[in-house]
């Protein structure tokens, strides 16, 4: 392989990694930006998504014929994506219940209680997963190999897994969708108004209670969706929640607290730069995102973009 194709491959890996990071961090940053809650259980919601996906995808994939010709391949991709959305939908009531039953009573208390509460949820969800799916890691390679059977990248002479391209495409659609939702739809604008000024929103007749429930449910949805998309190439294990959680903290800090645009730019930045760094110097894999964060904070202490209220597409 020449240097150029190598470079393109690693960059694509970085973009793919960045989109997965964005999918995880988007839920966290929406919840943080609007509810002012640092949800430590977010990583476990992501893990729960992956485990639910292992059951849901395993079932729905069995319903369609194995992908051989273009028509069945397209069908296969559609079914997998539908399964991922279905998985994420399972997480929605979980998120709504967490917000309305557990978080709501403690909004007016010191923020340490929110940390304790979400940390307690982290531990409980982790053991709930262990109870439901057992302690051994769960795999679902058939989906990965099935989609990779579609020779998409080889059209331009690259050897790159098609599944990763699917992640990039889906990530791009989610980004566009999220920005559309928050800028163009009524519900999205109401949510942003609540984030900017809670009292004023209440005064013009917005129910902040309902907004908060919706926001947490949306956050859980994206955590679950990210888990479902990340499952096929690897496996789902009990420890899988911690790393993405911390990495999405890094993404949020780089992007600027509560800024969705910042989270997007930061996720891609971290994804691509850390993949390049790992390519050039493999031991840097663990430390690269944190090093990027430290450098950016030294230059811009507030992160790349401002707060949620200043978000403009």
């Amino acid at each position: 392989m020449s240097v150029v194709t190598n470079f393109i491959t690693h960059t694509l890996h970085g973009v793919q990694y960045g989109f997965i990071l964005f999918l995880i961090a988007s839920g966290l940053t929406i919840i943080l930006g609007i509810l002012d809650v640092l949800n430590l259980a977010h990583g476990e919601l992501y893990a729960l998504g992956a485990y639910v996906a292992s059951s849901v995808l395993g079932y729905v994939v069995g319903l369609v014929p194995p992908p051989t010709d273009p028509a069945s391949q397209a069908m296969f991709v559609a079914v997998v994506l539908g399964g991922a959305v279905l998985t994420a939908a399972v997480l929605v009531p979980v998120g709504a219940a967490i917000e309305s039953v557990l978080l709501r009573p403690i909004y007016d208390r010191n923020e340490v209680y929110q940390l304790v509460l979400t940390f307690a949820l982290l531990l409980i969800i982790k053991d709930a997963i262990k109870f439901g799916w057992g302690p051994t890691p769960v795999r679902l390679q058939s989906v990965y190999s099935g989609i990779n059977g579609i020779p998409a990248a080889s059209l331009v002479g690259l050897n790159y897994p098609t599944y990763n391209l699917v992640i990039i495409a889906v990530g791009a659609i989610v980004v566009v969708g999220l920005f559309y939702f928050f800028n163009r739809t009524k519900t999205g604008r109401i949510i942003r108004a609540t984030a900017i000024d809670r009292e004023m929103a209440t005064a013009i007749g917005v129910s902040t209670d309902r907004t908060f429930t919706l926001v947490f449910a949306v956050g859980a949805f994206f955590a679950g969706f990210a888990g479902a998309m990340a499952l096929p190439p690897t496996n789902a294990s009990l420890e899988m929640g911690a790393n993405p959680l911390v990495l999405s903290f890094v993404v949020i800090v780089i992007g600027g607290l509560g800024s969705l645009r910042g989270a997007f730019v930061a996720a891609l930045l971290v994804g691509i730069l850390s993949r390049w760094a790992t390519w050039q110097y493999p031991p840097a894999e663990l430390a690269a995102p944190f090093a990027i964060m430290a450098i950016i904070l030294l230059v811009k202490p507030d992160g790349l973009f401002g707060t949620w209220g200043e978000m403009d597409a």
Binding site: L32, D36, L38, L40, V92, P93, A96, S100, V101, L102, P105, I106, R109, N110, E111, V112, Y113, L115, V116, L117, F119, A120, L122, L123, I124, K126, D127, A128, K130, P135, K186, T187, I190, I191, V206, S207, R210, T211, T213, L214, A217, A242, V246, F249, V250, I252, V253, L257, P283, A284, E285, L286, A287, F290, A291, M293, A294, L297, L298, P301
Partner: protein, 387 residues
């Protein structure tokens, strides 16, 4: 000279026990403190009597409690929630382990002092970078710096990667205590009593600190930063100082942990879950009190250890305890037992009128009904969006 000795004094018509300058306890507090001290000193015997409990576990609890006491200085007084205190705990532990494993330093006191020194330097750097922010941003930054440290240690063979480093210096395979090479049993017990001594001194220092003008300034900063700035408190410098002090406690605890466990791995000492543990110990014990974090440390470590024997799902057990803490006893163990705390006031209202139990039950039922109606509303929101 007479004033410097411990003795009985009379203040505002109340008799108080004078321990040292600026530290006067009421008779009740003195009695409680003595009971606490006695308990700490008797722990090895308690552990011997109860087969389910090991001294090393209790010892760990005391050590983590010490780190929690340090963290509490930040959380209670400056209202800054650091979520990366494992960084300092780990710095202390790794300094001891490195000196012991690579440079064959055997002296207990030397290892301890070096660990405190390194933790101080680390805290000066991390504090300088993360104290530019407050609130959640500060929590996130400390967490990220803690993870950076974890990633660096985990990735370097110099630090033993994920296998960690042994703390077995010298021909005796364990640190010498003031030049004495001890057999394992004696070492275990002596290190325990040294830990108790260090904890007692640390608590006294902390007491003096929070009851000094500096402590009052920290309280003022916690209540309103801008106002504190206005009345002439050098906010940034004071907060930085408090951060460093709390980190020194963490570093000390880390060094003691390394000397007890005699092996240090990145997972148990540097990972962010450890930071969480230390924070929750403080809250479990009662973060509005001085001794609470210490109690919380012992209780949480015991709980985790016993839960591990009891069930496969011991994490969820800890989680449920933390949930119960948030909703039932937000003041923590010590805080609830204090005058005006939840347990004491519930007990006294029960004593006055036992029928209050009925009110408790009905309020519980009421909250269940509210939760049910809430969930119906939530379904409506999720289906139809926000109006």
């Amino acid at each position: 000279m007479r004033n410097r000795l411990p003795g009985l004094v009379s203040r505002d018509g109340e008799r108080k026990v004078r321990v040292m300058r600026g530290l006067e306890l009421t008779l009740r507090q003195t009695a409680l403190a003595l009971v606490g001290l006695l308990f700490l000193f008797a722990l090895p015997d308690i552990a011997r009597l109860l087969p389910a409990i090991q001294l090393s576990v209790l010892h760990q609890g005391v050590v983590f409690g010490l780190a929690a006491v340090g963290l509490n200085l930040l959380v209670r007084h400056t209202q800054l929630v650091s979520f990366g205190h494992a960084a300092f705990f780990g710095t202390g532990a790794y300094t001891t382990a490195l000196l012991a494993a690579k440079y064959n330093v055997t002296e207990f006191a030397l290892l301890l002092i070096a660990s405190m020194l390194l933790a101080t330097l680390m805290a000066m750097a991390i504090g300088y970078l993360s104290l530019r922010h407050t609130g959640l941003y500060f929590s996130l930054l400390t967490l990220a710096f803690g993870q950076l440290l974890y990633a660096l240690v985990q990735g370097q063979t110099f630090f033993g990667s994920s296998d960690g480093l042994p703390v077995r210096p010298g021909p005796n395979m364990r640190p010498d205590i003031f030049g004495l090479a001890l057999p394992p049993d004696a070492y275990e017990v002596l290190v325990y009593y040294l830990t108790v001594a260090i904890v007692v001194v640390s608590l006294l220092v902390m007491w003096r600190l929070i009851n000094s003008p500096f402590g009052a300034a920290l309280d003022a900063i916690g209540q309103d930063r801008t106002r504190a700035q206005f009345i002439g408190i050098p906010v940034r410098r004071y907060v930085w100082l408090a951060f460093v002090v709390s980190a020194v406690y963490g570093g000390m605890a880390g060094a003691l942990y390394a000397m007890v466990q005699q092996h240090v791995r990145p997972g148990p000492v540097l990972y962010f879950l450890r930071s969480g543990d230390i924070l929750f110990m403080a809250i479990l014990g009662g973060y509005q009190t001085l001794f609470g974090p210490l109690v919380g440390g012992i209780v949480l470590v015991l709980l985790q250890d016993m839960g591990r024997d009891l069930t496969n799902y011991f994490d969820a057990l800890t989680g449920l305890v933390l949930l119960a803490l948030v909703f039932g006893f937000p003041q923590g163990i010590v805080g609830s037992l204090k005058k005006g705390g939840r347990v004491r006031s519930a007990a006294s209202s029960f004593k006055n009128n036992p029928a209050v139990v009925g009110a408790w039950v009905s309020s519980f039922a009421e909250s269940l009904v509210t939760a049910a109606t809430q969930s119906v509303q939530n379904v409506k929101v999720l289906v139809f969006g926000v109006k």
